[in-house]
């Protein structure tokens, strides 16, 4: 019944708004950009945590949203936020269409203490992502690599098309780095010629095949749209994984963000 809490729960600080500077913008896919922000009072985060972004208009109107941190805590002084541009989005459209290197933006964080993984928590690690749900999981993979962790890890990553795969090149490189990390893609809307991985929505059979090498003692982190997260989290329980070993983070479809 009891949910085991990560050990870092005692790290309680007052979270002040900080004026941060954009030092790099990278187009990841057609609709996704990564913003690298210099944080004046940077503190190490845990992989999986997020920052809040606040925008202020001349009349004082403010809008806030939460975005997962993509970088690992080993990358000091800055954080990377990888953000999908949502057509109806009030904040994401501003960030995509207006924000450039040298601009400033108010942030506070890091926030969140449950959907986090630290190398010391061990594994085996199962990460399941849908679309931009990859972002907090990428922070975990980057942390795993930077800390030299050899914890067996598998990422099952569902994207619409090949072109929608965020961090594709870096994931290929992680897959081949010999540290016991494997990336398994699935594409739900079409696939390129010669594609030899999954090409359907994640289902129970796919999950069973992906988790088999990890065994029932795995720790799972699942992030993506609600339907994917519901299906995967419940599927893992059906496959015999204890519910308290499955941590979830969900987003959308909210129509707005």
């Amino acid at each position: 019944m009891a949910i085991e809490l990560p050990r870092a729960v005692t790290r309680r600080r007052i979270l002040e708004w900080q004026i941060c500077t954009v030092v790099k913008v990278k187009q990841e896919t057609n609709t996704v950009k990564t913003f690298t922000l210099e944080v004046p009072k940077w503190v190490p985060h845990q992989a999986g945590q997020h920052y809040d972004v606040r925008l202020t208009a001349p009349d004082g109107y403010q809008a806030q949203r939460s975005y997962s941190i993509a970088s690992g805590p080993e990358q000091k002084g800055v954080i990377e936020l990888t953000i999908e541009r949502l057509v109806e989005g009030e904040v994401s459209t501003y960030l995509h269409d207006v924000l450039i290197v040298g601009d400033q933006v108010e942030l506070r964080g890091p926030i969140g203490g449950y959907f986090v993984w630290e190398a010391a928590m061990g594994g085996p690690l199962l990460l399941v992502a849908g679309g931009s749900g990859i972002v907090p999981l990428m922070a975990m993979l980057r942390h795993r690599q930077a800390s030299g962790s050899q914890v067996p890890a598998r990422l099952l990553y569902s994207s619409r098309t090949y072109e929608d795969i965020i961090y594709r090149a870096e994931l290929d490189q992680l897959h081949h780095d010999g540290s016991g990390m494997e990336v398994i893609h699935t594409l739900t809307r079409g696939r390129p010629l010669g594609w030899n991985s999954y090409h359907r929505r994640i289902d129970l059979q796919m999950l069973e095949e992906v988790i088999r090498p990890l065994g029932n003692g795995l720790i799972a982190y699942v992030c993506g749209p609600t339907a994917l997260v519901e299906g995967v989290a419940n599927g893992l329980v059906v496959l015999g994984i204890a519910a308290e070993r499955v941590r979830t983070e969900r987003f959308g479809p909210t129509g707005v963000t």
Binding site: L15, E106, G113, A233, A243, T254, G255
Partner: protein
């Protein structure tokens, strides 16, 4: 909090602030109902479901689902505010007021805090006086239909005056206590109180 910072080129065009006075600071209005939870959705058969109140009460009580359905229920139309920034206006629920439940168990005068506990191990804590006076209820219908599991069904707590993480999904009971102890999110960096109108999102707010 006042600020002199302005975001270059941000006008707030297409702002989703909602009607004046209905949406707390930093929130936007959404028309659908996002799902957030820390783990898999529990699925408890109704014949095994119970709701119990214990702790600092004179007459601890446990209701079966059938007994709970016999309790006087009413309709509620309330605005809800999630700490992840979305607010949803005029949500309609049916459920049992906490006043009704607490009356049955006879709360002891030294009880000041309520802790809700849930399937899946989730807990959340609230001051007793903020859930009494018809300010909180255990809901089992949402928009006239049984509450779906991903939204906390078969039954969830609803405490509209506090951020929505206090409205515990899959609620199975309440413990009355004298001393305040942080619940799940309250131990993980979120505010112990969680008043959206004071923007009490995180520890220290």
């Amino acid at each position: 909090m006042s600020t002199i910072f302005q975001s270059r080129g941000f006008t707030g065009k297409g702002r989703q602030a909602g009607p004046a006075g209905r949406v707390p600071p930093g929130q936007y209005v959404t028309s659908d109902f996002p799902v957030l939870s820390a783990g898999p959705t529990p699925h408890i058969p109704l014949e095994r479901w119970t709701f119990e109140i214990n702790g600092l009460v004179k007459a601890p009580r446990r209701w079966s689902w059938a007994e709970f359905m016999q309790l006087p229920a009413r309709q509620y139309t309330v605005d809800i505010h999630c700490v992840t920034k979305w607010s949803k206006l005029d949500t309609s629920w049916e459920g049992v007021s906490l006043d009704t439940l607490l009356q049955v168990v006879e709360v002891e005068p030294r009880a000041h805090v309520v802790v809700a506990f849930c399937d899946g191990g989730y807990t959340t804590n609230m001051p007793l006086d903020e859930v009494m006076g018809d300010k909180a209820f255990v809901a089992y219908k949402y928009e006239a239909a049984p509450l779906p599991p991903e939204h906390g069904g078969p039954a969830r707590l609803v405490v509209p005056k506090l951020y929505f993480w206090k409205s515990a999904k899959w609620v199975r009971g309440l413990v009355l206590a004298e001393k305040d102890e942080p619940g799940f999110w309250e131990s993980l960096g979120y505010n112990n109180h969680g008043d959206p109108w004071k923007e009490e999102r995180y520890h220290g707010d």
